[in-house]
Amino acid sequence: MATLTINGETRTLDVPDDMPLLWALRNELGMVGTKFGCGMGLCGACTVHVDGVATRSCSAPVGSLAGKKISTIEHLGETPLGRALQKAWLDVDVMQCGYCQAGQLMTASALLAKNPNPSQAEVDSAMQGNICRCACYGRIREAIQIAAKEGATADV
């Protein structure tokens, strides 16, 4: 039995403690926006925020998450930063198959929350845990920079 706070709501789940958050979200709660790509913390498709930190949900057992604030792609549009990123993603038409993009957006928003004005090297380093098999990397870089600029003006 695990009690989790997900996107501001308290959810109680009857699952073993060692079940990764990813499979609790997808199969128990029907929240399928968070994606399965590797199951080993290697690809970033499953990225969520745990207390604001980008976290690989495939490798985070639900037993370790009690009392922590979890937020997922379904909640990204609730924050101004999330909306700025989503808009930039559409404006530069980042995606091809799109399957990795929930994870890319979650990692990018954790990055910008911490570092509102990252250099390209900082973007590359923060994003290197997120594989895009379609290799939309140039556009992900571009969209993050656009959102960073807009975020900066919005905050003033």
């Binding site: 399928v32 994606k35 993603w89 290799a135």
Partner: protein, 743 residues
């Protein structure tokens, strides 16, 4: 839907039907026969159909019939119809059609076929629809249709400024005479307002919110989850397993041994573990302890294949001739210089981001298998599953979901067969089968490894007088349809060298193989363009100069019957123009580069697209190659339909190719793949991505596909750049950094 208002054979080629929608409005369906022969894998010409509806409120709905795997088809095909219809793109909705080849014609994502196949017919459908709307407006106003204009879903009478929307006209239009789609005038490209515009992916607004649109997002009431344990050794047979131990694990509902049926493209022996949560199902696999009969294949390894291939190449004589002309022996005997080199490329996996999965439900009352499948070949999957289950085709219903990438992996529907077999064993329960990444890496249908011994004779003026290739490849058991372990028998530069001889030898294997994005080309481009770079170097020139000299004065080959009807033959003029463009873009021969940087060149023609590419690399003391910049010039015809999607495809293809050059290889030992996940199958990550500059060189040809042809030339561009930087030839992929290390 509604009663048929009118049906007529409007031309020999196209059957267009107009009908009234149930609540008013226009439904237009078009059947365009016989232009898609081999795309279905059958010799039979299959029709190509289109469905458009215009509702009274002006909403336009177009059925997207081909699977969307990230190539942009679901956005691109409707753009063609909407353009000629003169619709307001913001009012166009696109819905995904189910698998039904009788209704839609072949539904396929692969081979970059869709663009050339649909370019004219889809526009004709749109233009015919526009003509009917104009006709309806003309009748209403009592004027001639030719005096009216359209724009963004509105008909205007310029004489008095009166307007009617398409929605207001739709019901009347259904009663208009159906024009001959072959005779309606298509727009002058300068009037395009949708084609050529940067249009975002139609599903993108859903993707950024994490909405459920992929196969693996399918959710049905009462659904359970399955994992499938199969033999690590290819060709192995099931003996026994501890089914009870797995069944005793938490959450597990059932454990079922499933006998194979057909080959690895259909169903291999395995054990399905079914649970209420996929993670629990997968975890219980560890208790199965399956015993397999590995048979004769357990000794196979990539090292063993390499040794065999090297022995073949050393022997000098190919087992069979592919093609021969002139007198190569005499040319080599009198050569001033001979270039002799062995090339090799490894097995590769596809690893699309969304792991293989399929949801299936056996409806026992109706005897119907219903499936939700992320596949590139839904019709093939439907037919093959029906055959496996002994059902008529219409008793297998396949809903096409969006796919998280394809790259050719989902041309093969082994996962559909598994899901169907499991669902059949659990009647009336929806079952979602999901593979792990390890299942995917170890259970792929791989890009075949291959070996080539190439020899070239140069005369005393440095002219290429003869070329020989001994290709060592695999004898694919039961490879039906497209065989990826082959090469074209007139592969460039065969036609442009006076004496040439290509031959091949084959090895036995049980490794399943399939098409990987730009199949055969992704390997042969590396081999031939790298070897020609060696030849150019020996001749005292560079690769672009050598290529231009080889085709000097050559004329375009005549059009020939190809995969989708008449297609243009190889055109050296188009080759010349992209080579010159890439040379200019990269400042080839004149560029002042940072210390230690060097440029390399590659050109390739595949999937009807010509691409010339230049890579700028540097090599560290440890032998690590960094690609800094890539310049790409491509000719894919007259028009870039959606520049957004087009650039994304080209840039993605270049990075995909760079990954193949730098880091990717699937290895086998004891009959099984030893790679398992992204740590030892290292798909490029963001820091690997260079700056990529793309220019399209338009030519007077119908537009052709972009998913594939940009990939092949980047690989030799990188390897040739490494030679320019270090003086070391890369004759085996991926690049071995030990070979390049200087410290």
């Amino acid at each position: 839907m509604s009663e048929l208002a009118e049906t007529m054979q409007v031309s020999r080629r196209t059957l267009l039907k107009a009908s009234v929608l149930a609540g008013g409005g226009l439904m237009l369906s078009a059947t365009i026969p016989g232009i898609a022969r081999a795309a279905t894998g059958s010799a039979q010409a299959a029709p190509l159909n289109a469905f458009v509806t215009i509702a009274p409120d002006g909403a336009i709905t177009i059925v997207g019939k081909n699977p969307e795997i990230g190539q942009g088809i679901k956005t691109m095909l409707p753009m063609l119809i909407a353009e000629e219809l003169d619709a307001d793109w913001d009012k166009v909705a696109i819905v995904q059609g189910d698998s039904d080849s009788r209704k839609y014609g072949p539904q396929l994502a692969g081979g970059s076929f869709a663009t050339p196949m649909n370019w004219i017919p889809m526009r004709q459908v749109g233009a015919a629809g526009r003509a009917m709307l104009l006709e309806a407006a003309a009748k209403r106003w009592g004027v001639t249709a030719s005096s009216l204009t359209t724009s963004k879903g509105v008909v205007t009478n310029p004489a008095n400024g009166k307007t009617l929307t398409y929605g207001e006209l739709a019901t009347d239009a259904a009663a208009s005479a159906v024009p001959d789609p072959g005779k309606v005038a298509l727009k002058d490209p300068k009037d395009f307002h949708i084609i050529g515009r940067k249009i975002g992916g139609i599903d993108s607004p859903k993707i950024i919110h994490g909405e459920p649109i992929y196969g693996v997002d399918t959710q049905l009431p009462g659904m359970v989850y399955a994992a499938y344990e199969r033999a690590p050794v290819f060709g192995a047979k099931y003996l026994s397993a501890n089914l009870a131990a797995a069944k005793a694990e938490p959450g597990v509902i059932d454990v079922i041994a499933i006998p194979g049926s057909g080959g690895p493209e259909q169903l291999v022996d395995g054990v399905a573990v079914i649970a209420k949560n996929w993670w629990l199902a997968n975890k219980a696999r560890s208790k199965l302890g399956v015993q397999w009969d590995n048979g004769e294949w357990a000794s196979h390894s990539t090292r063993g294949y390499d040794e065999q291939a090297r022995a073949f190449m050393a022997s000098g004589k190919p087992a069979e001739s592919l093609n021969k002309k002139g007198d190569t022996a005499a040319a080599f005997a009198s050569a001033a210089k001979v270039v002799d080199a062995e090339y090799h490329y490894p097995f590769l996996a596809h690893v699309p981001m969304e792991p293989m999965n399929c949801t299936a439900q056996w409806h026992s009352k109706t005897g119907t298998m219903e499936m939700w499948a992320p596949t590139q070949t839904p019709n093939g999957g439907q037919q093959s599953v029906a055959k496996m289950l002994g059902l008529p085709e219409d008793k297998v219903v396949v809903h096409i979901t969006r796919s998280g990438g394809g790259f050719g992996r989902r041309l093969i529907n082994d996962f559909m067969h598994q899901a169907a077999a499991i669902a059949k064993a659990k009647p009336d329960t929806p079952v979602q089968l999901i593979w792990t990444r390890e299942d995917d890496v170890r259970g792929d249908h791989y890009r075949p490894a291959g070996w080539h011994r190439l020899r070239a004779a140069l005369d005393d003026k440095g002219k290429l007088t003869a070329i020989e290739d001994h290709f060592v490849t695999f004898d694919l058991p039961g490879a039906g349809g497209f065989n990826p372990a082959t090469m074209p028998k007139d592969h460039f530069p065969y036609a442009f060298v006076p004496n040439a001889s290509y031959g091949q030898s084959k090895m036995k294997t049980a490794v399943p193989m399939g098409a990987l994005r730009a199949p055969t080309s992704n390997a042969l481009s590396f081999v031939f363009q790298s070897f020609l770079d060696e030849v150019a170097h020996e001749a005292g020139t560079d690769l672009p100069t050598l290529l231009l000299a080889l085709v000097d004065g050559a004329e375009a080959e005549p059009a020939q019957q190809g995969f989708f009807g008449k297609q243009p033959g190889f055109d050296p003029g188009r080759m010349r123009s992209v080579i010159k463009k890439a040379v200019a873009m990269s400042d080839w021969g004149h560029a002042s580069l940072p210390q230690g940087h060097a440029l390399g060149f590659g050109y390739y023609y595949s999937h009807l697209g010509h691409f010339a590419e230049v890579a700028e690399v540097s090599v560290s003391k440890a032998g690590l190659v960094t690609v800094h910049n890539v310049w790409i010039a491509g000719d894919v015809g007259s028009t870039i339909i959606n520049p957004f999607g087009a650039l994304n495809q080209v840039q993605g293809a270049a990075i995909d190719g760079i990954g193949q050059a730098l880091s990717l290889a699937v290895e086998l030992d004891k009959g099984a793949v030893t790679n398992s996940n992204f740590h030892n199958y290292a798909i490029p990550r963001m820091p690997v991505a260079p700056q990529i500059y793309v220019e399209f060189v338009p030519s007077d040809n119908a537009p052709t596909g972009l998913g594939e042809p940009a990939l092949p030339p980047v690989i030799p561009a990188v390897t040739n750049a490494v030679f320019a930087a270090t003086g070391k030839r890369i004759r085996s992929l991926p690049i071995d950094k030990k070979l390049l290390a200087t410290a």
